[in-house]
């Protein structure tokens, strides 16, 4: 396995411009990226607004996936039931976690947050492990019907659903933050909680709400991803790091930024996987990510 770039790739680029497979690659990348954005939007909310580094984020996604799994195995239900339930349950869990842990570690240094959320991640992950075991589970393809064939481009219905919801969630969160009074209260607290308090806004409640919304969105993401990805207690590790990269690339706190960053990462991953080789695609993503941070430290759309 030498470190040589696949020469074939260059040929493919030339023929690719007119090639159809490349379109499929890009479409696939966009869908993948939308999924990344979906499970990162909750994180950017929390990270940007409350300055909390949540190492347990990936495990919240995992919990959402398991809710969908339980809904299927116990009730035979699909995402219509699983997704809202996951959103509600995770939002509730979010509130509990906020009052039990986050509120206190928020006041501490970043280290305390990493420490606390890392412990939380292990706790959640292995509680699920203890209950459900280590086996990989999947939801059947039939749950969210099959694959569409649009002009020869194949799109999995389950991914399309997740992608569509990603757009809706991004829009929804953005509107919530910028157009509603709740949103402006939340932003006020994030900006300056003392000043907000003086204006009659209760920082504690706003932060709990923000956290709950973020957790709910994450649970929703998990429930939808469960339709096409494998479900296992340790999946949080893989997804967590993707979310971190997406959020920092997009700019902490920017929900539209997370969407754009997610889409960008998805397409770059997909293209480099096809043109250069799958083992290098993560290298490409991280290199671009690092370069980006060095030259534009506030991310794509972050405010700093």
């Amino acid at each position: 396995m030498s470190f040589a770039v696949n020469r074939d790739g260059f040929d493919r680029v030339i023929r690719g411009a007119m090639s159809f497979v490349l379109v499929q690659v890009i479409v696939g990348g966009l869908l993948l990226g939308a999924v990344y954005a979906l499970f990162s939007s909750g994180l950017t909310l929390v990270w940007g607004m409350m300055n909390v580094v949540n190492f347990a984020h990936g495990d919240f996604v995992m919990l959402g996936m398991y809710v969908a799994y339980v809904v299927y195995t116990l009730l035979g239900g699909g995402p219509l039931l699983g997704a809202p339930l996951a959103t509600l349950l995770l939002a509730t869990l979010g509130i509990v976690v906020y009052f039990a842990l986050i509120r206190d570690i928020m006041k501490g240094p970043m280290l305390a947050q990493i420490l606390g959320t890392f412990g939380l991640a292990l706790l959640l992950r292995y509680s699920v492990f203890w209950w459900f075991g280590a086996n990989f589970q999947t939801l059947p393809e039939s749950l969210v019907g099959g694959t569409f064939d649009i002009f020869g481009i194949r799109i999995q219905a389950s991914r399309l659903l997740a992608g569509g919801v990603a757009l809706l969630v991004t829009l929804g969160l953005h509107l919530l933050l910028t157009r509603t009074s709740l949103g402006s209260k939340m932003l006020a607290v994030a900006e300056d909680s003392t000043a907000a308090q003086l204006m009659g806004i209760r920082p504690d409640s706003m932060q709990a709400v923000a956290w709950a919304i973020a957790a709910g969105a994450t649970g929703l993401a998990g429930a939808l991803i469960a339709n096409f990805f494998y479900i296992v207690p340790t999946v949080g590790e893989t997804l967590g790091i993707v979310a971190f990269v997406t959020v920092s690339l997009g700019g902490f706190g920017s929900v539209p930024g997370a969407l754009v960053a997610g889409l960008l990462i998805g397409v770059i991953e997909s293209l480099s996987g096809y043109l250069i080789g799958a083992i290098y695609k993560d290298i490409v993503v991280y290199t671009l990510f690092l370069g980006f941070l060095w030259f534009r430290p506030q991310g794509l759309m972050g405010k700093m």
Binding site: L115, W130, V245
Partner: protein, 329 residues
């Protein structure tokens, strides 16, 4: 004077530990605590004292580990010979990425360090010379004592103790030097420090490079004790996180914080694993995670900070100057 007495007493206890607790497992546990304490203390220089939370420090750890194993695998030299190479490599990496990365603030800095470490891991995974995914092994049968491949953990214990004392000594010297003075100022408020003329960028960079070099020594020692390194065990994200949480749990920015953190977390993980791991129900980590959550929740400044506070309360007349936990920067 009292402080010196306590120090000596503590040192005596640490030196005596493996002579009192003599089973191989207990001695090895002690050696592991010291090894992690070295890594966490090295991290502490940049993460605790300078307030730059690096979550990618494992890249330096890996430099040392891989340099040592490569010295043996490719050149049949004792792994020890790899230590200087590892130090050079890690300091070089720190210098090169330090300049653009230390400019970044808080969370962006941490993410950038993660990216660097992951890049290193991915590149090494695909590099045949460094063993790719299979990894590199050290001497299976020691040829000379310099191979540092012992059956008993006792020599490792004292070797690591020596290195730890040197590391702490360097940290102590640095804290009391002008550089330490600048670092404290930067940690409290970088802007204020700069406005007062502190050469912030240069000082942060030096701290970063110093920390990198010391971390690589920890990595080299690790690879010699276990005789093996691969991308996951030498460059995995979990190692960075472990270094970090040991320092944080014990007390970041305090000299003995990382040692306290290691002394708590390493036995905790090993013992939960011994008691619960074999059942295969994942309970080890439920317990481990829960305890970490509790400590983070109730003592975000770290255990040592708590102990110091309690001690200060008992003897108000002799209370030392309170040391604040590092702020989020």
């Amino acid at each position: 004077m009292r402080r010196a007495i306590w120090l000596l007493l503590a040192l005596a206890l640490v030196v005596a530990y493996p002579l009192v607790f003599t089973t191989p497992f207990q001695q090895r546990l002690g050696a592991l605590i010291l090894l992690y304490a070295i890594a966490a203390s090295a991290w502490n220089i940049v993460g605790g004292y300078a307030g730059q939370v690096s979550v990618g420090h494992v890249v330096f750890f890996g430099c040392g580990a891989y340099a040592s194993m490569a010295a043996y695998s490719h050149f049949a030299l004792p792994p020890l010979v790899g230590i200087p190479a590892g130090i050079v490599a890690s300091v070089a990496i720190a210098a090169v990425i330090g300049v653009p990365t230390l400019r970044l603030s808080g969370h962006y800095f941490s993410m950038a360090t993660i990216a660097v470490a992951e890049l290193a891991r991915l590149i090494v995974t695909n590099t045949e010379y460094l063993g790719a995914a299979v990894g590199l092994s050290g001497p299976t049968v020691p040829r000379t004592v310099f191979d540092l491949s012992f059956i008993s953990a006792l020599p490792y214990y004292y070797l690591f103790l020596t290195v730890l004392l040197i590391t702490l000594g360097i940290t102590w010297w640095m804290t009391n030097s002008r550089m330490g003075f600048y670092l404290r100022a930067i940690r409290d408020s970088e802007r204020a420090a700069r406005s007062l003329g502190a050469p912030a960028s240069r000082v942060k960079l030096y701290a970063f490079m110093l920390s990198a070099g010391l971390t690589s020594i920890a990595g080299a020692l690790y690879s010699m004790m276990f005789g093996f390194v691969d991308p996951e065990s030498g460059l995995g994200l979990l190692i960075s996180v472990k270094m970090l949480i040991m320092a944080a749990l014990g007390g970041a920015g305090l000299l003995f914080g990382p040692l306290v953190g290691a002394a708590i977390l390493v036995p905790l993980e090993e013992i939960s694993n011994n008691l619960l791991g074999g059942k295969g129900a994942g309970l080890t980590y439920v317990v481990y995670g829960a305890i970490i959550v509790l400590i983070a929740r109730f003592q975000p400044g770290g255990i040592l900070a708590l102990i110091n506070r309690l001690w200060a309360k008992r003897k108000p007349a002799e209370a030392p100057v309170a040391q604040r936990a590092p702020h989020a920067s």
